[in-house]
């Protein structure tokens, strides 16, 4: 089995205040910590689990800046075999169709059985890249996958639908699967793996190296324009309970008990 896993370096904004830059088109990323996208972390684990079960190799592909090498090395430490990072500022990365084209350009010509992407990126959240990539490469796909069974020349994918209902589909390989969180328990990189990862191949390429025409993946080629970013107004009708933690607890307790809520 040869698997290619696509991973993205994303900012953790769950506890942070997000500010839009004066250009109105980008977010001030200076204070965020970055790491692998949630779903991609599960995709890495799933591809390593399949390798451990069936043998074979796992390649990592990521479009991102130099700083993301740390994330890529981590995936290598967990058992992926080699990595390719693509960096080129001409890529219109606001459009998942352009991102998919670049990923396809980086993968074209390689033999693979499976490609795994996350089903959703924490920052952009298009839920589109993996399925678009499958079409670019002309292979089968299943999205939002929460269980993978590799069979002979086929894969059974359990797609997670709304309400937790699962739809089981069978695909002929090669295929792209977009992986949903919770499919497995991502491991921590073992110390030995971290040492080995330093010796594994991590190549860096631009569009020219990959023979991808910048005119096909740049802002001109994209049929959508990111016009404006803004912070949505947070309207809250909530009663904010103030004070020290103890006082807040006391006030809330009294609201709950006196209001007959508990």
């Amino acid at each position: 089995m040869k698997t290619i896993v696509c991973i993205k370096y994303v900012p953790d904004t769950s506890e942070a205040e997000v500010k839009v830059n004066p250009d109105g088109k980008t977010v001030d990323n200076s204070r965020f910590s970055y790491d692998i996208n949630d779903a991609d972390n599960y995709a890495v684990e799933e591809s390593v689990l399949i390798k451990e079960d069936k043998g074979g190799e796992v390649d990592v592909v990521s479009i991102g800046p130099k700083q993301s090498d740390v994330m890529i090395r981590m995936a290598l430490a967990k058992g992926c075999d080699r990595a390719k990072r693509i960096e080129d500022e001409r890529i219109a990365d606001h459009d998942p169709l352009m991102v998919a084209k670049v990923l396809a350009g980086a993968i074209k010509g390689e033999k693979f059985d499976l490609i795994m992407t996350g089903c959703y990126s924490n920052d952009d959240g298009h839920m589109s890249t993996g399925v678009a990539l499958a079409e670019e490469l002309g292979v089968n796909h299943a999205s939002m996958v929460k269980k993978v069974e590799v069979l002979d020349g086929k894969v059974k994918a359990h797609r997670e639908l709304e309400g937790g209902l699962m739809e089981v589909v069978e695909l002929e390989l090669p295929a792209v699967l977009t992986i949903q969180t919770g499919i497995n328990e991502p491991r921590y990189a073992p110390i030995r793996g971290i040492r080995q990862a330093q010796k594994k191949e991590l190549s860096v390429a631009g569009l020219d190296d990959l023979s991808i025409d910048p005119a096909e993946v740049g802002a001109e080629a994209s049929q959508v324009v990111l016009e404006n970013l803004y912070i949505p107004e947070v309207e809250s009708a909530a009663e904010f309970i103030e004070g020290e933690p103890d006082e807040k607890a006391e006030k809330l307790a009294s609201i709950l008990v006196k209001g007959g809520l508990v």
Partner: protein, 324 residues
Amino acid sequence: MGNVLLLAEHRQGALRDITFEMMAIAPKLAEDMGGEVTALLIGSGMDDMAKKLSEYGVKVQVIDDPGFENFNAEKYQKVLSVLIDEMKPAVLMTGQTAQGVDFMPALAVEKKLPLVAEAIGLEYVDGTLKATRQMYSGKVSATVAFKPAETYLVTIREGAVEAPEPAAAGSVEKIDSPFKEDITYRKFVEYIEAEVGDVDITQSEILVAVGRGLKEDKNMTLIEELAQGIKADVAGSRAATDAGWIPHDRQVGTSGKTVKPKLYLAMGISGAFQHVAGMKGAKTVVAINKDPEAPIFTVADYAIVDDMFKVIPALQEKIKELKG
């Protein structure tokens, strides 16, 4: 002509909510673009659903064919690819659902058409179609403009708008499927229903729900103690389920359960729309989160901005005191 083709979504014999929600968006858009709405229904045994859909005053076109008994992304793509050429809609919209995300990006690539995924609003201004969508888990909104194209593809977020009431009588017309072959490279196998656990949280009166803010499994004791003291059941976000802190059947949200307890205590949950969709029907919502910008506060009745680990022990004690 600016016609809007709306692909209806249904599953296991019923139209899904997103289909009706799109009825709040499509007619106005079609009017602004100088066209009409056609709702497309693809399935097998569709008479009742077609009738129900037509009550929204739209033209319903139905492909009623045993070959479409179950959803198959590849077949949908084949059908829509032909219909786009034949009908030349200005807009093709469907839901950003497990169904929509499984074929719309591939269709966009195949037809070389633009796609905006998970729009929460659409506007046609001075000849340009603009979509509003969210990024960074709802902390940032974005306006995305389509460059001029034959057909704009767009998926709509579930629960972004309220479904309108049925408006007027429409029409139903059966059309022949432009794609009748069977596909061997992707096959539907079966549905597997969600697991049932020991407690049915959809029936709970009080829920204490935890999120990633719990940080570690061992902190569950604190949550369980609080829940026990107020006779509540424990539930949580997807992050809490994925981490294994709570069982799957206790997950609240679009891919979990929809709950409507009298009291919902959200502890260390950010309030992503997928979560909120499952709990906004709660009568009273209390949220404790250390991030003042957390979207959970928009649906809260009582809010505490603080570290839950400082508040919960004291809360538990005070409740015990007051209840005597």
